[in-house]
Amino acid sequence: MATGKKKGLLFDSTRCIGCGACYLACKERNRLPVTAEDPLADELSAVTYTVVQNRRGRFVRRLCMHCEDPTCASVCPVGALEKTPLGPVVYHPDRCIGCRYCMVACPFGVPRYEWRSRTPRVRKCDLCYDRVAAGLPTACAAVCPTGATRFGDRDELIEEARARIRAEPDRYHPHIYGLEEVGGTSVLLIADVAPENLGYRTDLSAEPLPLLTWNVLKKIPNFVLVGGVLLGGLWWITNRRIAVARAEREALGTNRQTEEGQPSDREEQV
């Protein structure tokens, strides 16, 4: 396995039988309590990083999509979320200040929070970062009995998805979800129906969301310099004008003072 390449997961809904192995494997790897007897009845939470859902008779997984240009990592003021070169988006709880901007901004609504804790952490799938770094597949992919969840190099998974769609055009909806959404994600999804039928939002543009704020933020240094010079200049001009006016007044004597706008104003106040 080439360790330098970006990893990812390919989820093929047509192969998923809803057995819940990925759900349990994730719980086991992350040492989390099993919160539902039936994984199909569970929801993402601070102790559940992936679930299998039954959507109109089709099984579909929910988990962090590990965006190529992650919104969560972009919005975090202290860099507590990080896109690693291998693909996983990981979280550093020791950096986190708990502003929860990542939760507001995530286009997939994935991050969860330890609301009841006094030292709360953001919780989400980390694509089994330690396993992936050691050259192992993620726990969920390792246990999947049907190959519905496959782990591999993202490039190869894209080729695989394309090949499957090409080979069985009747079986698959042609869209590979995650190929382009918000600039691409490490988790890819194919199914026999359009992704909106599986509860995945399809109104996301191919442009990474962080660009929306970066286009504004990158103007700041320029703005500070130009603004500083401009305001300083304005101050100098108005200051100079007053000084000149005063000097002229002194030269002309004080009899014309009432014609000036500002001194007469000041007189009214007294």
Partner: protein, 531 residues
């Protein structure tokens, strides 16, 4: 003989006492039980009242400070100088209270200093954090002359005087960045914020509306100072501010209409929805009504008229920030949010703290120009003043025009709240899946041969194939501890050592109990088939 001075019990002191007591109790709940115990926030709705009101509105309180200091120190329009100190004080208090609010809202308030050393310049929140830190410092410095005066320290006073212009320039830049960046925070959620409020122009809207609020707060607080401390600012200055408000609101309204029309979202405002009605209420209350009122010269030159218009701008502004951060985010989150009483009481405590600190500052520092204090007009009681003005007719105009708008706002808001759908998030109805296609790819996990123990009548081979419900395969039925999945998959060595007494309830006995499947105590050979 000792004289014990008892503080006089007044209505407002009792109110403040109640607010502080309940706020302190909520503070205890917040820091002992976490955000979950003290707020109505959830994974689906992570930002609520503390962000929407305390932070977004608190920062805007500073808008008066930087506008007025720019007007006086950079443009040298010196007649506004009497307004500078109260606006700087309001700005400073606004920022201090924002920091207090952040300590409540941040999950890990003890890490609030992290943005100082852990940088992410791609984050708007990082910019916000730096603006808060820097501008609080600038405001503290701008405010400090009041302290040095009181302490009669000449040296720092001189230093501060020399620093005034650079500080004002820095303050204006920081304010511009900060007011707009609070709007930029929401630029990254086009998929979440309702199109009536989401706009690429959000930073512009936040900045322009903050300018209007800054002027309105100046009018508002000078009226309150008049009531509370008998200190009055020159009415003609406030009238000028009223004119400025009209200009700013006109700009805001134009930009807003242009933006909504350009994005094709204008019709959404007139649709009978929760968001549409609250949007209209916000626009009527905060923009259209005060604009109309302040355009009437009789209202503009009257302190009651100015006060009513300013209150409308302030309330409309608050509504706008709450609409952006709460109303506009509800539909996409799938849950309805209403702040818990603990959130409300903490917010009220912070607001009350602002009033108390403002009062203390006015009492002990020279916030208002000294000549204003002794004005004979200030002794005038408000009630007869209102009566006198009624005769003049301006109060009648304000009451009629303002009243019509207020009724309209209340009607819109009420109908909006009634239109709010009760969105209890429910799991979609489950349907049996078509497993056949998936099962084609099903790899039955291999059989497990268990090592024979001494007392065992024969080797047991566990067959996955015969233990799977082929109509509805579920790994979760058996794969709890000790039959963990990940370790089993990575370790498929055979034969395997039994992890414990396999007849026990934790193992085979769990199902093989005579009820779900045949009892382990029945025929040994059923399982112990091997040699």
């Amino acid at each position: 003989m000792k004289i014990i001075v008892r503080p006089r019990i007044t209505f407002w002191r009792v109110v403040a006492g109640v607010i502080f007591l309940s706020g302190l109790y909520s503070t205890y709940v917040r820091f002992s039980g976490g955000l979950g115990a003290s707020t109505a926030l959830s994974d689906r709705f992570p930002w609520g009242l503390w962000v929407g009101f305390d932070v977004l509105c608190g920062v805007a309180l500073a808008a008066g400070g930087f506008t007025m200091s720019a007007v006086v120190y950079i443009f040298h329009i010196e007649r506004f100088k009497p307004i500078i100190r109260p606006t700087i004080l309001t700005a400073f208090l606004g920022y201090l209270l924002v920091i207090v609010a952040l300590l409540f809202d941040l999950g890990k308030p003890y890490n609030i200093w992290h943005p100082l050393v852990m940088w992410n310049p791609h984050s708007v929140m990082f910019e916000v954090a730096w603006c808060v830190m820097l501008y609080t410092t600038v405001l503290a410095l701008e405010f400090s002359p009041l302290l040095w005066e009181r302490l009669r320290w000449e040296k720092p006073l001189k230093v501060m005087h020399a620093l005034t212009v650079p500080l004002v320039i820095l303050g204006v830049i920081l304010s511009f960045l900060h007011q707009s960046s609070l709007g930029s925070l929401f630029l990254i959620v086009p998929h979440r914020l309702h199109p009536l409020w989401y706009s690429p122009l959000l930073p512009v809207f936040f900045f322009v509306s903050a300018l209007a609020l800054g002027c309105a707060m100046t009018i508002f607080e000078s009226f309150l100072s008049f009531r509370a401390f008998r200190k009055r600012l020159e009415l003609h200055l406030l009238t000028d501010l009223g004119k400025v408000i009209v200009g700013v609101l006109a700009l805001y309204l134009t930009l807003k209409l242009q933006d909504l029309a350009g994005r094709g979202a204008l019709r959404l405002a007139f649709e009978p929805t929760y968001e549409g009605r609250l949007f209209l209420a916000e626009m009527v209350l905060g923009t259209i009504a005060p604009m109309v009122l302040l355009l009437i010269p009789r209202v503009r030159t009257d302190d009651f008229g100015l006060f009513v218009s300013a209150v409308m701008v302030v309330l409309g502004f608050i509504m706008n920030r709450l609409n952006v951060s709460i109303t506009g985010m509800e539909a996409s989150s799938g849950v309805a949010y209403f702040p818990s009483w603990t959130e409300i009481s903490v917010t009220m405590m912070i607001v009350a703290l602002g009033f108390v600190l403002f009062g203390l500052a006015v009492k002990y520092l020279r916030v208002f120009p000294p000549e204003e204090v002794a004005r004979p007009a200030a002794v005038e009681l408000p009630a007869p003043a209102v009566l006198r003005r009624l005769r003049q007719g301006s109060t009648a105009v304000v009451a009629t025009v303002g009243g019509v708008f207020l009724v309209l706002v209340l009607a819109l808001g009420y109908s909006g709240l009634r239109l709010r759908p009760t969105r209890a998030w429910a799991a979609p109805p489950a349907a049996e899946g078509d497993l056949q296609r998936g099962l084609e790819h099903f790899t039955v996990p291999p059989d497990i041969v268990y090592q024979r123990s001494e007392a065992s009548p024969g080797t047991v081979t566990f067959s996955h194939a015969s233990h799977i419900d082929w109509n509805r395969p579920r790994c979760t039925v058996c794969h709890h501890q000790p039959y963990s999945l990940v370790t089993s998959v990575s370790d498929r060595s055979s034969p395997r050592k039994p992890p414990g007494d396999m007849h026990a309830e934790a193992f085979c006995g769990r199902c093989h109990n005579g009820k779900q499947a045949f009892n382990v105590k029945e025929d040994c050979a059923t399982c112990h088939k091997g040699p």
